[in-house]
């Protein structure tokens, strides 16, 4: 078949296919457009693929081949797009996706936990015994800043914030904490080094500050403030660390896969933990901004709420979603 005949024979089908592609590519679709796209899309798509294969085999002109290639590519993009269904997927993720993922990747989660808490506990113990060593770990300005934040003798009204200030702090916590979690995940790609640094650095920082607060006797205000959101925030940090470690480990020990493929797999698994970290850090930011900051609630209540938070987090990750799969 000559090229001209070939083009004339199939041109109507190509045109129809191109029309439905153009409808499907439009961002805003009118009612009934979807049906127009669906009618005969698969048949047309296969037909164009067949034509492209023929055109290549018969060495038709580059113009025709390029035209068909573009058609196939655009059709392929539409044919193989994934269904979004975002609300259902978020629900499934919270009810069983996340706890299952955390249990499946328990090794990385436990290693991240150890990297975060162990150095922190060691520094905590050291600073309790040698109080002046806090200045070796934390910048003196930062220490005095934190001291003034949790000073129980300070003007109570000054710490009682307006609710619109709470919202500002909510924004601040989201930007700051989740941003740090993202960086910790990304840093993992350098053979886990970035993540390790992040986990140990933050663990040591928290350990030193905790011990220092006890040394100067500000426990009540400090623990009253941090108790409520600690469970979500610390677990969120650990999860982002676990995701970063996973990424780096794929680079160090890819196992049966090529490094490239191992990295892609680790990215997919790590992303589930990252979604979890974002989820927990959002809760933490919310609690920290709107609950922890209320100074009229007695510390005992705050301790109980904090304890309940830890119980919820532990039960969530150990019990929920067992035996359920997407």
């Amino acid at each position: 078949m000559r090229q001209e005949e070939f083009e004339q024979r199939y041109q109507p089908e190509w045109k129809a296919f191109q029309d439905s592609i153009e409808i499907a590519e439009k961002f805003s679709r009118r009612r009934g457009d979807n049906q127009k796209v669906l009618d005969g899309f698969a048949e047309h798509y296969r037909q164009v693929c067949y034509c492209l294969a023929l055109a290549r085999e018969r060495q038709y002109s580059p113009y025709l081949i390029q035209k068909l290639e573009t058609l196939v590519f655009r059709g392929h993009q539409i044919f193989y797009q994934k269904r979004l269904g975002i609300f259902k997927r978020i629900y499934q993720f919270i009810v069983f996706g996340l706890p299952n993922a955390v249990r499946e990747q328990a090794t990385f989660v436990w290693i991240a936990t150890a990297l975060f808490y162990l150095p922190g506990l060691i520094v905590f113990a050291i600073v309790l015994v040698f109080p002046e060593l806090v200045y070796a770990v934390v910048d003196p300005d930062m220490v005095s800043n934190i001291e003034s934040m949790y000073d129980p003798t300070a003007d109570r009204l000054g710490r009682e914030r307006q609710s619109d200030t709470d919202f500002m702090m909510f924004g601040h916590y989201i930007r700051n904490n989740i941003g740090i979690a993202f960086q910790s995940f990304a840093g993992g790609i350098i053979g886990t080094l970035g993540t390790q640094f992040f986990l140990i650095y933050n663990g040591v920082f928290f350990g030193a500050i905790d011990a220092h607060i006890i040394n100067i006797g500000y426990q009540e205000t400090f623990y009253g403030f941090v108790a409520g959101h600690s469970s979500y925030e610390l677990t969120g940090i650990v999860l982002s660390g676990a995701a970063g470690l996973q990424l780096g480990w794929a680079v160090i020990a890819p196992g049966q896969f090529s490094r490239k493929q191992a990295l892609i797999n680790a990215g997919k698994r790590g992303m589930v933990l990252m979604y979890g970290a974002i989820f927990l850090l959002l809760i933490a930011a919310f609690v920290e901004a709107f609950w922890s900051s209320i100074s009229s609630v007695p510390p005992t209540t705050k301790y109980w709420v904090g304890g309940a938070g830890w119980l919820i987090v532990i039960l969530y990750f150990t019990l929920l979603g067992r035996g359920r799969r997407v």
Binding site: Q59, P62, T70, K82, D164, I189
Partner: protein
């Protein structure tokens, strides 16, 4: 061929050659996106600054969302293109040629941080220069590819010359050479055009040339038109 294309086999049993986008076009798209996100942040500040502390919170949240999710939202909802990519004419797809999804897009955009290390995208630059498909670290981890968006080409209606079918069937390579020649004639001197066309003289329709009806170069241009689809 020296072209930077990536061959992807699709389930229909054919291969697509995707034109991979290079460092220059990607950097350009990045710079445009950077300027746009600064503008968006500026606009957010202008809108929320009158709402007091609540507005401050909204500003911080907007900055967070724009910083981390501006590229993600565009890539997922706008056919794999941020605004900068749209201007430059490139798009992000998965390695297997399918459209990019949430996870891949988030992974590749979060890992910008790693690409940025140790200063101004040094790791990303090195990674792109050493990888076959100009991938930065984020592209490796997400399994994504940045390609030039293929535009649908249509027949040029405004033609002064008629197409002319070649006397013998040509291989694709020969066809591309002739089309390449025809596309470049406007950028070469006449004597150079005639010199190059002269090499193919014996192979062309000698009768017309001998009659003085047209030169070898014109005849080649007509053949090129025919090859590109002008009957």
């Amino acid at each position: 061929m020296l072209d930077t294309t990536r061959e992807v086999e699709v389930p229909e049993g054919i291969t697509l050659s995707l034109p991979v986008a290079s460092l220059v076009s990607r950097s350009l798209a990045f710079l445009i996106d950077q300027v746009i996100s600064w503008l968006l942040i500026f606009v957010a500040i202008q809108i929320f600054q009158f709402l007091g502390r609540f507005g401050d919170g909204m500003i911080l949240i907007s900055i967070f969302v724009i910083q981390w999710f501006y590229p993600v939202l565009f890539e997922v909802f706008y056919n794999g293109q941020t605004l900068g990519k749209k201007v430059v004419g490139v798009m992000v797809i998965n390695d297997d040629g399918t459209p990019i999804d949430w996870s891949s897009s988030i992974v590749r955009n979060l890992l910008r941080v790693a690409d940025f290390l140790p200063f101004f995208y040094a790791f990303g630059f090195i990674s792109m220069m050493f990888s076959r498909d100009f991938k930065r670290l984020g592209d490796f981890a997400a399994g994504t590819l940045v390609v030039h968006k293929m535009e649908q080409i249509e027949k040029d209606q405004k033609i002064a010359l008629d197409g002319l079918a070649p006397k013998v069937p040509l291989t694709l390579e020969e066809q591309s050479a002739i089309i390449g020649f025809a596309e470049r004639t406007s950028r070469m001197s006449n004597s150079r055009v005639n010199e190059l066309a002269g090499y193919l003289g014996p192979w062309l329709d000698q009768e017309k040339i001998k009659q003085g009806a047209e030169s070898s170069a014109v005849q080649l241009t007509r053949i090129a038109k025919w090859l590109r689809g002008h009957a």
